[in-house]
């Protein structure tokens, strides 16, 4: 493996903050245009359009939900067909032991249930949860990300990361209290 030139092996990320969402927005746009990918923003409230400024691709979550929904729908059908129609048919008021109309409510419910699970746990998976803390939180002022500061964190695993160059770039954009946090 080629040795990275100036990459600090210890640092996890370079973390700093801005006073206004506009500054953060501008910073994200600049990083995106510079070709940075592994960086994240932490804000006290949702900043509209930030995902575009960061150049994030649309979430893969809908596909996970679709797969979960298809699984729920088909498993509900197969389960009822197997239980009611094949394995243990019961004669109830002379009604057919298996029929599609009577199966639809269960098919609907399991589709909804599996979609909800797919959404909730799919989100966990995509966000690598549960996780008790993120190294970014080691920044001494990080608590203010839930109050009045707008944080930027450029991860060291980023291809373009360079302790001096990235720091200079962020400083130029107005980031404050820039610190390298350890993993």
């Amino acid at each position: 493996m080629p040795e990275p030139k100036t990459k600090s092996r210890k640092a996890h990320a370079l973390v700093g903050y801005f006073d206004t969402p506009a500054d953060l927005f501008h910073c994200c746009e600049t990083l995106r245009d510079e070709g940075y990918k592994d960086f994240d923003a932490h804000t006290p409230f949702p900043v509209h359009g930030l995902e575009h400024a960061m150049g994030l691709r649309p979430s893969r979550l809908p596909w996970i939900v679709l797969a979960a929904a298809a699984f729920g729908l088909s498993s509900a059908y197969l389960m009822q067909w197997w239980m009611g129609g094949v394995d243990y048919p019961l004669n109830i008021s002379g009604k057919p032991s298996f029929a599609l109309p009577s199966s639809i409510p269960i098919m609907f419910e399991l589709t909804v249930l599996c979609s909800a699970f797919g959404t909730f746990f799919g989100m966990w998976g995509l966000n690598r949860l549960p996780r008790y803390y993120d190294p970014v939180m080691k920044h001494p002022s990080f608590g203010r990300a839930t109050d009045d500061k707008f944080f930027i964190a450029v991860e060291a695993k980023e291809e373009k990361y360079d302790p001096e160059g990235t720091r200079a770039l962020l400083e130029k954009l107005g980031a404050k209290e820039l610190l390298e946090v350890e993993p």
Binding site: P46, E51, P58, P62, P101, S102, I104, P105
Partner: protein, 403 residues
């Protein structure tokens, strides 16, 4: 284009030029003349078939207009901000309602053909019908119709007029609050009149059959197709260069989401109606679906299942389709066609007992009411502004974003 400048940074063209307005009205008038012409010819050729075909067309137009009125009322009662622009187009569509009383004349004239089972001389001989004659009798039927039409005309007129008054009123907040206060009782009135109109004009075609969810079923289809019409009008107006700010791709996306949602709502209600009847398996209830499972009616029933639910459901699911002009327009045209199939499926089996066969008479029954509706919309569109210029929630509509 004449430019009425709007506050809050939005500088959309708010009015049609006199030439454009004239063209819109000419188009509406032409549609009405052609529609009524075809309808008249159909009436002359086959009076009996036309009575049923016309009822299909009449219900198609009336349910869409009621859906639009309901949309307007819901925006007021929920104090919706995003829909301030699209609300105006729905006010135009609900403007069909004062005309429905005129559109009802052919139905009233043919009432004895359509509702022979309980209006005819043999009604009292059938025990199942005799008990219902206290409600189902010609006098009460026409009194109720008069109540429905008065209520609808009043609501459509008042909400349209008050919303238009926002444009140059200094008390737009007071007017908005007034509409908000009136909208809740108005929803109640619309829901009840719509339900009983559905009972009177459609369900009573088979007087022994009944379904308590029938009113909701009619509402779901009407609301769904009024959203489809709104999508088409929005795409058209945006394509013509109107609505740069008050209505954008974000608003279209939201209309698409509602269309998607009500696709599911219709299916939910339609299945709820079918499921209980299927499960209980009582002859006077199952007869409704038995009539719709004869010969080619079977294919029409399946067309409804797939065309009214499965296909639009899958088509409208992706975000990109709802945000694409072509994707949403295709869905909207398809939904309107399916709403017609739905109305056809409700009415025509009472005439075509041996299976569905569509003829040009049916087209006449559709085009007559649709032409008049087009004129009613055109007359509203040609007057006043294209969106409520003075609405206090306009800035909110301009800011809309889908994350």
């Amino acid at each position: 284009m004449s430019g009425q400048v709007v506050k809050n940074g939005a500088r959309d063209v708010a009015k049609l030029t006199p030439e454009q307005a004239k063209r819109v009205v000419t188009f509406g008038a032409a549609a009405a003349v052609v529609g009524l012409g075809v309808a008249g010819a159909a009436y002359a050729v086959d009076r009996q078939r036309f009575a049923y075909s016309y009822l299909v067309g009449f219900m198609f137009v009336t349910t869409i207009a009621l859906g639009a009125l309901m949309f307007v009322l819901i925006q007021h009662v929920t104090r919706a901000g995003w829909s301030v622009g699209p609300r105006r187009q729905m006010e135009w569509v609900s403007g069909i309602l004062p005309w429905t009383v005129a559109l009802f004349v052919p139905v009233a004239m043919n009432a004895h053909t359509l509702y022979e089972a309980w209006m005819g001389p043999h009604a009292a001989e059938d025990k199942g019908i005799a008990k219902k004659l206290g409600y189902l009798n010609p006098q009460f039927f026409f009194i109720r119709a008069a109540v429905f039409f008065s209520a609808w005309a009043l609501l459509a007129w008042w909400f349209g007029k008050t919303s238009a008054a926002l444009d140059d009123s200094k008390e737009s907040k007071t007017l908005t609050k007034k509409m908000q206060a009136a909208s809740a009782p108005a929803i109640l009135v619309t829901a009840l009149t719509l339900t009983f109109a559905a009972f009177d004009w459609l369900m009573s075609l088979e007087p022994k059959w009944y379904s308590t969810i029938f009113g909701v079923y009619i509402f779901s289809g009407g609301f769904w197709s009024s959203l489809a019409l709104l999508a088409l009008m929005t795409i058209y107006l945006q394509g013509k260069g109107f609505f740069q700010r008050v209505s954008t791709v974000e608003h279209r996306h939201d209309i698409g989401k509602l269309l998607f949602g009500f696709t599911v709502f219709w299916a939910y209600i339609a299945f709820s109606q079918f499921f209980l009847i299927w499960y209980a398996n009582i002859p006077e209830e199952t007869i409704f679906f038995k009539h719709r499972w004869v010969e080619s009616w079977q294919q029409v029933s399946m067309l409804l299942l797939f065309g009214h639910f499965v296909i639009p459901f899958l088509w409208l699911m992706p975000r990109t389709i709802k945000r694409s002009n072509a994707g949403l327009a295709i869905a909207a045209v398809w939904c309107l066609a399916m709403h017609y199939v739905d109305m056809y499926w409700l009415v025509m089996p009472n005439l075509d007992h041996q299976g569905a066969h569509f003829t040009w008479i049916d087209l006449g029954g559709l085009l007559g009411p649709v032409g008049v509706a087009a004129l009613a919309i055109a007359l509203r569109a040609s007057k006043g502004s294209l969106f409520p210029v003075g609405d206090p929630r306009l800035p909110e509509a301009v800011r809309l974003q889908n994350l």
